[in-house]
Symmetry: C2
Subunit: 114 residues, 2 copies
C-alpha cells in the first residue's frame, strides 16, 4: 500500500510529470532539466530523487554529470504499466510540447556553469 502511495505521489506534481515526459526523449542531467523548468538546481534534484525512489528513473554517472533516464526495464509491474501509460498521455499538452522543443536547444556545455 505504502508503495502505491509513493508511486502515485511521484506522479502528482506537474514538474515531475514534465520531467518524465522529457526523459522519454533522452536522458538529461540536473542542469539541463533546470534550464527547461526554470527551477533551482536543488529543487530539480529533489524531484529526481522522488521519481527515483518511486522506481520511475535511474541515474548514471557520466563524466561530471549525472544522467537521469527512464527505468524502462523495471520489474515492478505497477511502475512499468504506469510508465507505458505516460508515454501515451500528455503528448498534446502545449506545456509538454514546448518543453520538448526547448529541450532540443539545450546544450549542457553551454547552460551549466551556474
Amino acid at each position: 500500500m505504502r508503495n502505491y502511495v509513493k508511486i502515485f505521489k511521484a506522479l502528482s506534481d506537474s514538474n515531475r510529470l514534465r520531467i518524465l515526459k522529457m526523459l522519454e526523449d533522452c536522458p538529461m542531467c540536473v542542469c539541463e532539466i533546470r534550464a527547461v523548468l526554470n527551477l533551482a538546481n536543488s529543487t530539480v534534484s529533489k524531484h529526481l530523487s522522488l521519481l527515483r525512489e518511486a522506481g520511475f528513473i535511474l541515474d548514471e554517472k557520466n563524466g561530471k554529470w549525472v544522467d537521469y533516464k527512464l527505468n524502462d526495464k523495471t520489474d515492478e509491474p505497477q511502475v512499468k504499466k504506469l510508465m507505458k501509460l505516460m508515454t501515451e498521455w500528455l503528448n498534446d499538452e502545449a506545456r509538454i510540447k514546448a518543453d520538448k522543443r526547448k529541450l532540443e536547444l539545450v546544450d549542457r556545455n553551454k547552460i551549466c556553469n551556474i
Copy 2:
C-alpha cells in the same frame, strides 16, 4: 496537465485507495466507510469529494443516505484506464482484504446514528 495532477493526487492517499477498493464490491454511504476506516465523518466526506472531483466516483441520493459508487462508465480515458488497473492492484494487501471482510459485516441501519 492540471487534470492529470488532480487524478494522481486523488490516488496518492492510502485512505482514498482503501475507499476505492471497497467501492469495487458495492456502493457505500459515508457512515459505512467511516465505520471501516475509523475516521471522522467529515474526513471521509472530504476524501469522497476529492475522488469525485477527480472523476473516480459518483454520488446518488438514496433515502436519507448518499451512496457513493465507482464511476465505471466514465468517458475520461485516463480515469477509465486507472480504474481498470486499480481493480487488478492491491487485492493481496492484508489491509484491503481486512477492509472487505469488515465491510461485509457493516449494516448501515445499525452503525449510523452517530
